[in-house]
Symmetry: C2
Subunit: 417 residues, 2 copies
C-alpha cells in the first residue's frame, strides 16, 4: 500500500539527481549526474524522501500533488551563487555607449558604471527597493533558480548598505526563492570619499562591518579586488576583519586584470573566488588544492564585449571546485537565467553539459555552504525544475529562451511557464 506524500514527480525521461559522491564535485566527478532514466521522486515536508524509477516510486508513494514529467528532464533547481539583485535605475544608456565602443572601465572613469547605480539606489525608498528586488526574485524563480546569493554594494554608506540588505531580506520573506545575503560595501569607493580612501576603509572596517555582523544583515562579506576598486592589501584588511566578526568570505577576483585575488581567497579560506578571467597559474593551483569554489560568470565577457574568458578547463584539470553563476547586475551582466549561463559555459568555457549542470547545482550550493541544496537525494530540500528537453545534452544548447517549464520549491509547485 503506497504512502501518501506531498509530491510525487514521475515519468522523467531523465531525472538528474546529482546525488552520488563527495561534495563539492571535482574533475571527473563533475560529469556524474546520477541520472535515472524513467525517473521519479517523492517529497514530504519540503524534503526529498525517495528517488528511483517511476515503477519503484509508484509502488511506494502516492502524491497529494503529482507532476507528470513524461519526456522531460528533471534536475535540482538552479543555485545562483553570485548576483546583485538589489538596485534602482538602469544602465541602458551606458549599454548603448559601450556598444558604440566605450569600455566598461572608460564608462566607470567618466562617473558612469557602478556609481551611477549607487546614486539611483541611494535615491530610492526602501519600499521601492523591496518592490524592485521582489520582482527580480519572481523572474529568477520563473527561470528555475530557488537559491540566490544577493549582494549589497550599491549603497556604500552605513545607512544605504543596511537599507539594501534589509530590502533583500524583506523581498525574500515568504518568497520561494531563498537568498544568501552578502555585504559588498567594498564594491567601489563612493564619491564623497574620493579623496579620502583611508576614510572609507575606516568606515568599512570599523563602522559598517561590525554593524552588519551585529545585526546579522549578511552571511558573507565580499570585496571587489580590482584596479580602480580595492587593492590586495585593502581586500585583506576588510576580509580579515569580516572573518573575525563571524562573516563568511567571497572575493571578486582577477576579473579585468591579474590581482592575486584567487590566491588571497584561498589563503583566507573564502567560500568562493569569483570571475577569474585573469587568474594566475598560482591562483589556479591554489584553487585546485582548496575548498574555495571557483565561481565562473561566463555571461559577463559577452555583456562587456571582452574576448577573455575564465580558464575553466585548466581549473577543472587542477581539481578546483567549479561553479557557475549569472552575476546578474545592471551594468556588466543583465542576465537572470542560469540556463543561458549553461549555454555560455558550454560555448565559451568549453565545459561539457554534465560539468555545467554540476557547476550550476551541487557545486553552486557548496559555494553558498548549503549542503541540502543542488541535489535530489533523500533529506535534501525538494527544489527542482522540469525542463522541456529530452536529456542533459540539450540543457544549455539554446539561447534566449528558457527550457524551464515547472519549478518546485520545498516540494510545492511554485512556477509554471
Amino acid at each position: 500500500m503506497p504512502s501518501l506524500v506531498d509530491l510525487v514527480l514521475h515519468g522523467a525521461s531523465e531525472l538528474l539527481t546529482l546525488g552520488r559522491g563527495a561534495v563539492p564535485r571535482r574533475k571527473e566527478a563533475l560529469r556524474d549526474l546520477g541520472s535515472i532514466r524513467g525517473g521519479a521522486l517523492a517529497a514530504e515536508g519540503g524534503k526529498v524522501v525517495d528517488v528511483g524509477t517511476t515503477e519503484e516510486i509508484r509502488d511506494r508513494f502516492r502524491g497529494r500533488q503529482e507532476i507528470d514529467a513524461c519526456g522531460k528532464t528533471v534536475l535540482p533547481a538552479f543555485v545562483d551563487a553570485h548576483a546583485h539583485p538589489c538596485f534602482a535605475g538602469d544602465r541602458a544608456a551606458e549599454f548603448e555607449m559601450r556598444c558604440a565602443g566605450a569600455s566598461y572601465e572608460e564608462v566607470a572613469s567618466r562617473g558612469g558604471g557602478i556609481l551611477s547605480t549607487v546614486a539611483a539606489t541611494r535615491g530610492a525608498s526602501r519600499e521601492e527597493l523591496v518592490r524592485l528586488t521582489r520582482r527580480r526574485l519572481d523572474r529568477f524563480l520563473s527561470l528555475g533558480t530557488t537559491l540566490l546569493e544577493a549582494k549589497s554594494g550599491y549603497g556604500l554608506s552605513l545607512q544605504d548598505e543596511a537599507r539594501s540588505l534589509e530590502a533583500i531580506a524583506e523581498a525574500a520573506a515568504n518568497h520561494p526563492v531563498e537568498v544568501s545575503p552578502t555585504f559588498l560595501g567594498a564594491h567601489a569607493v563612493p564619491p564623497e570619499f574620493r579623496s579620502d580612501r583611508k576614510g572609507y576603509m575606516r568606515l568599512l572596517v570599523e563602522g559598517m562591518l561590525p554593524e552588519v555582523a551585529r545585526r546579522r544583515l549578511a552571511e558573507s562579506c565580499d570585496v571587489f579586488l580590482e584596479k580602480g576598486a580595492f587593492d590586495r592589501e585593502e581586500a585583506r584588511a576588510i576580509l580579515e576583519r569580516a572573518r573575525g566578526l563571524g562573516l563568511r568570505l567571497r572575493v571578486h577576483a582577477d576579473q579585468l586584470s591579474s590581482g592575486g585575488g584567487a590566491e588571497l581567497a584561498c589563503e583566507l579560506g573564502a567560500d568562493s573566488a569569483d570571475h577569474l578571467e585573469f587568474v594566475s597559474d598560482r591562483g589556479i593551483e591554489a584553487l585546485g588544492g582548496s575548498d574555495t569554489v571557483a565561481v565562473l560568470l561566463p555571461g559577463v565577457p559577452v555583456f562587456l564585449r571582452k574576448d577573455r574568458d575564465a580558464p575553466a578547463r585548466r581549473l577543472i584539470e587542477a581539481g578546483a571546485a567549479v561553479a557557475l553563476a549569472t552575476d546578474f547586475n545592471p551594468g556588466s551582466c543583465y542576465c537572470p537565467s542560469m540556463a543561458e549561463v549553461l549555454a555560455f559555459a558550454r560555448l565559451r568555457l568549453g565545459m561539457t553539459a554534465a560539468e555545467a549542470i554540476s557547476a550550476a547545482t551541487v557545486n553552486a550550493a557548496f559555494a553558498l555552504r548549503r549542503p541540502d541544496r543542488g541535489r535530489l537525494a533523500p533529506g535534501c530540500r525538494a527544489d527542482l525544475v522540469v525542463c522541456d528537453v529530452p536529456g542533459p545534452l540539450a540543457l544549455g544548447s539554446g539561447l534566449g529562451a528558457s527550457p524551464v517549464e515547472t519549478v518546485a520549491a520545498g516540494g510545492k509547485v511554485v512556477a509554471r511557464a
Copy 2:
C-alpha cells in the same frame, strides 16, 4: 463621443510607431522610431486605425478590449525574416562536440550537421512535423514574433520537401503567427545524390521547383551558397528557374566564406541576402544600391563559436537596407528570440538600439515584402508587443530573458508572459 473599437492600448511610456518615412529604412532613417511619449493606439478589424497620445486616443476611442501599457514600451511585433522551424530530432550531441572543439564544417563533413536533421525529418510523420512546428510557433509568439519566414530544407526530396512545406502551412493555419514559406531544397545535397550532384540539380530545377510553384507551396526560393553546399553557378541556375516560375528569391550569402552571394542576390533582384559575415566590398556596394535586404543573423557566430560578424556598420553606411533575424534552426542557432537577437546586434554588430529595432520590425517586414507589417501606422496590421522596459534603449540590453509581456496580433491579445 468616442467611437467603440476592438482594441485601445494606452499609457505607453513610449509607443514606437516606426510609422514615418520611406520603407525600407536606410542610414540615418534607421534611427527614427517615430516614438510617441505617453502613446496610445486604436485598432479595429485587425488593423491600426489611429495612434497618438493617450489623451488624443482616449478622446476619440473606447476599446472593447483595453491594454494599460503604463510604464512600458510598445512597438510593432517582431518580424523574423530568416528561420528554419520545421524539423525533427535535435543536435544536442553535435553541440557538445562543437563545444569540445569540433567546427561546424567538421561536424558536417562527418555526416552530422544538416544531413542528420534531414534523416530525422524524413523519418517523422507529417503529423509529427505539424505538431513540432506548431509548438515552435507558440514559442515564437510568446517571444513577440507574429510574422515568421519558414524554410523547408530538411527534406531534400520532392516528397519530403513538399511534406515540410505542407506541415508549415498546416501548423500556421489558424495560428496567430503568420508564416512566409520558403523552399530551400538547395540546403545541401542529400546522401543519395552524393556522387551525382548534377542529378540533384536536375531534380531541383526540373522536378521540385515546378511542383512547389504549381502547388503554391512557397512564396520564395532560397539557396545555401557556400563551400560544401551550392556554388555560385548552381545557385544562379536554381534562382533563375525559381524566378521564372514566379517565386521570390533569397540567398544564404557569404556566411562561412566569401562566395559572391551578395552580388548574385542583388543582380537577380532577390528580396534578401542573408548572413554576410564574409561579404565582399563589392557585395556591400551592391547591397547599398539595391532593394535586396541585408538580413543579419548575429546569434549564429555566437552559437558556432566564431569570431567573425557581419559588417553591419559598413552596410548601414553604404545605404543597405539592414534587417535582423534569428536563423532559428537546430544546428547553427537554436534561438527563437528576437529580443536576444537585438542584444547580439548591439553587442556584436555595434548597432544602436534604434537601428536594431528598425531592423527587427519595419525592415524585416520589407525583407518579406509585407508592407502592412512592422509599423504601427493607420492601415497596418495591429500586431504589437508590450515590453517591460521604460524605453527603446533598454530593448536588447539584457540576455536570456524576454522583455515581452503582452503580444497582440490582428488587434487581439494572443499571448501574455
